[in-house]
């Protein structure tokens, strides 16, 4: 392997994930579910729109999860599969999905940690299946989506404009 492998998130993936998470949010009465990849990029947001900067939130979530992964190893655990941060009104529950992405559940006093934990288990299993399928499919050859050929030239022009030519 030379660099980090690229992966793509397609519309059909989005629909499958949305279906799973909408069901989970309904059953658990949690407000919002976000999917963040381990490198800190936001993949999807389902449920109530968030009031904060989702890009910054995603990078901090990935850092939080990675730091806790290292702490787990120091304790002799292979990982902490889930994390919980409790606030006075707002809380968040984070769960690992297929070792590649993180499910973040935001919830308030309309529900309880117990209910969220109970309902999240099957959502994690279903999402793991979706992401395992996604990461195992080839990203080259026929059928793989591509950026248009004119993309590179236009991207370079935009880089010159934004960062000064």
């Amino acid at each position: 392997m030379t660099g980090a492998s690229s992966w793509s998130f397609r519309e059909e993936d989005s629909r499958r994930i949305e279906g799973i998470l909408k069901g989970f949010l309904g059953e658990s009465s949690a407000r919002t579910a976000l999917i963040v990849d381990r490198t800190g990029q936001l993949v999807a947001t389902i449920g109530q729109p968030v009031a904060f900067d989702p890009t910054a939130f995603a990078s901090l979530t990935a850092a939080d999860f990675s730091a806790n992964d290292q702490l787990a190893r120091m304790l002799g655990e292979p990982e902490f599969g889930a994390l919980f941060h409790q606030g006075e009104k707002e809380s968040m529950y984070l769960a690992d999905i297929a070792r590649r992405v993180i499910l973040v559940v935001l919830f308030d006093n309309a529900t309880t940690l117990g209910l969220v934990k109970l309902r999240v288990r099957s959502a994690v299993q279903e999402l793991s299946q979706v992401f395992n399928d996604m990461f195992s499919r080839p990203e080259t050859g026929a059928g793989a989506p591509q950026v248009e050929s004119a993309f590179l030239g236009e991207a370079e022009d935009e880089i010159d404009k934004l960062f000064g030519s």
Partner: protein
């Protein structure tokens, strides 16, 4: 690992600024934050100590706009320079698409530079990445200081080059930023390639955008 999100039509690329402590990595990001159009940048996040030393990372998202139907974003990260934060340095490299090594040009920082460069290669290898195969640039910062080492000396110590194995790249490739110099050349019968380098004074912004432009273009090329 640039992620192409066809559902939200977004492409996100991760650029990491690496290097020895107090070399100017955070200063690079701060200059970008202050100079780039406010509409094109997100919130800058710094996880720093009370004395403003980077504890975990700085993060700055920059939005390139919509190109051919895709919103393209660069996520700029710095790592902590201090050696004892190596665990967090390694974490930030996960999924990196392009690396900028910010070297401190001062003569007395030579050893710290070399140590940080070695540490970068080691940490990349532990993730299974090969620094010679992904977009990589070296920035020699603090060129304005009287004790700055000559560029040739810095290049020899930090960016001497690596053997080119791919025969299709066995040809002279000029360095577009330094006339008369090459990024790929032959030496004693061996083809050698080295990372593009830039001189900078990050505190005044000199060289900051030249470096960023080069690394972001190199990263965009990998998407095609």
């Amino acid at each position: 690992m640039s992620m192409i999100n066809y559902a939200s039509r977004e492409i996100n690329c991760k650029l990491v600024y690496y290097g020895p402590g107090l070399g100017g990595k955070t200063t690079n990001l701060e200059f970008v934050y202050n100079k780039v159009a406010p509409t094109a940048r997100g919130k800058m996040i710094s996880l720093a100590t009370e004395t403003e030393r980077t504890l975990f990372f700085d993060f700055l998202p920059v939005d390139l706009g919509t190109i051919r139907g895709f919103k393209v974003k660069f996520h700029l990260y710095t790592v902590p320079g201090q050696v004892y934060y190596n665990a967090s340095r390694k974490l930030i490299l996960k999924g990196v698409d392009g690396v900028v090594f910010v070297a401190d040009s001062q003569l007395e920082r030579m050893e710290a530079n070399v140590e940080a460069m070695q540490n970068l290669y080691d940490n990349m290898a532990q993730h299974g990445y090969d620094l010679t195969k992904i977009p990589f640039a070296v920035q020699y910062n603090k060129r304005d200081l009287p004790n700055a080492a000559p560029i040739a000396e810095l290049q020899a110590a930090l960016n001497p080059g690596w053997p080119v194995e791919d025969p299709s790249r066995h040809r002279l490739i000029p360095d577009p930023d330094h006339p008369g110099e090459y990024l790929v050349w032959q030496q004693d019968g061996q083809w050698i390639e080295r990372a593009p380098h830039f001189e900078a004074v990050a505190a005044t912004g000199e060289g900051v955008f030249d470096t960023l432009k080069a690394i972001s273009k190199a990263v965009v090329k990998t998407l095609g």
